[in-house]
Symmetry: D2
Amino acid sequence: MKIFVTGGTFDKEYNELTGQLFFKDTHIQEMLNLGRSRVPIEIRTLMMVDSLDMTEEDREIIAQNCLKSAEDQIIITHGTDTMVETAKVIAQKIKDKTIILTGAMIPYKFGSSDGLFNLGSAFAFAQSLPKGIYIAMNGRFFNYDNCRKNKKTGEFEEIK
Amino acid sequence: MKIFVTGGTFDKEYNELTGQLFFKDTHIQEMLNLGRSRVPIEIRTLMMVDSLDMTEEDREIIAQNCLKSAEDQIIITHGTDTMVETAKVIAQKIKDKTIILTGAMIPYKFGSSDGLFNLGSAFAFAQSLPKGIYIAMNGRFFNYDNCRKNKKTGEFEEIK
Amino acid sequence: MKIFVTGGTFDKEYNELTGQLFFKDTHIQEMLNLGRSRVPIEIRTLMMVDSLDMTEEDREIIAQNCLKSAEDQIIITHGTDTMVETAKVIAQKIKDKTIILTGAMIPYKFGSSDGLFNLGSAFAFAQSLPKGIYIAMNGRFFNYDNCRKNKKTGEFEEIK
Amino acid sequence: MKIFVTGGTFDKEYNELTGQLFFKDTHIQEMLNLGRSRVPIEIRTLMMVDSLDMTEEDREIIAQNCLKSAEDQIIITHGTDTMVETAKVIAQKIKDKTIILTGAMIPYKFGSSDGLFNLGSAFAFAQSLPKGIYIAMNGRFFNYDNCRKNKKTGEFEEIK
């Protein structure tokens, strides 16, 4: 399995000198150690950005990396705000892999994060869903072309 | 989805007056709130026992509850030591449901638990695996009749 | 003992919908429960502000509340950036009480906070130091007129 | 300042293979890093025992180390059950140092521990109380010859 890290709330940290949130390194490996994961994986950080700052070029980089990946089970950690946009770009290019985008509403380092639960579900969906591009959030999975983030509740929901 | 709680390390707590570990209430709902799960679920506590203390009668109770359950996606939280034994009892009686047994090596209340990761993966496997009885641990899923807990590493592994 | 809450990093929380830090309620009582404190106390929230936004009027309110307080052991939770300025305003008006200003570099809700350690030391200093106005940070106490926050390290140090 | 580590609930950890609590290394330095302490200290582990298993010989070792210590501000981390007994042994031999015994009801590694609060208060009491032997628990300090642990509540209280 391959994990591409792109940033998002997942990996944000608190800078105690400035009081600002910022990115340093990804916490994915630390989270997988905590979860005692024994799934063979390869983690690659593609970028560390807030998904509101993600450009079309960034999405292209993500899609190209999915394309080139030898593994056909891929997880992408991503900010929730534009997760669906990135999923659509990927879906235009890739049909024969199971790609799961996931994220978090609370940074992992803040203790009470949903990140570990989401990562666990993303791992499972990557191993068990048919080829396709999916969002894994709120314990559920969504087809990339049938969901949105509800900005009021912070939850993902079906569009129809 | 249905969740049957049977105890196990998952739900153990520390009694600060005696220094012993004990069971009080399950933390599943609290964990699902943390994970922001929006999967419709019904939680039922069947027992609160260490799986080393689980009797054949206990396993029968678990199997009967799975049988009677209207839902065909079922998660069972269970101590890891005899998780496979319980899975075998269930498998003898039920073929037409997706039943996932999961647990934890560290109690959820101890802060650095694998429980939230495991619960996330169990939720996902329950929604996406075909009918059958499975163990979800270490980020992976195992067929009930092809795995064991390695007592030295604390990890689940395939038998063959 | 009296505790006046004024905000500061101590009590900041993460708004998962906006990604911003904000103030809701103080966590002092929750922290004292965790610490199993049995010191009789009265907690009063005077304001909930970032200390960089604190006005002279705010400092006057704090000083007046210290003056009017029946207790002569007082703790003030306060943002670290202007903690010393507030201490000076209080010192001009009050000589006959032991007043301890304390704070945190990391919000209590973020899990890995220095807040609980600082609160424990503030409680102890309030009970054992002679009358005067002090800063309690980094496990130490400082006279209000002989310390500053080092903006590069985030630590308090003597001026001398 | 000197810190003598003797074990106690403070430093207990959970062995995930056996389900038992055990001692490995002390967490004092990790806790002081979290608290951003800048008090010059020297930590020395004398033993790692449950205080119910502590022998008179152990207490003698603790007292001798306090005697020989060049520092006259000393903190001893200790199980709460026999903390008072050890304090009495020390008090027979030492009059000219400020010695604070402290501990915890919940292990530091379990996330929701009172340990960090207690350690903060012990640090402050060691710097501000007159020479003598004290217990620092529940946010308070007690003279060694005037307190006991209430076994029902787990709290320390004055005797008379």
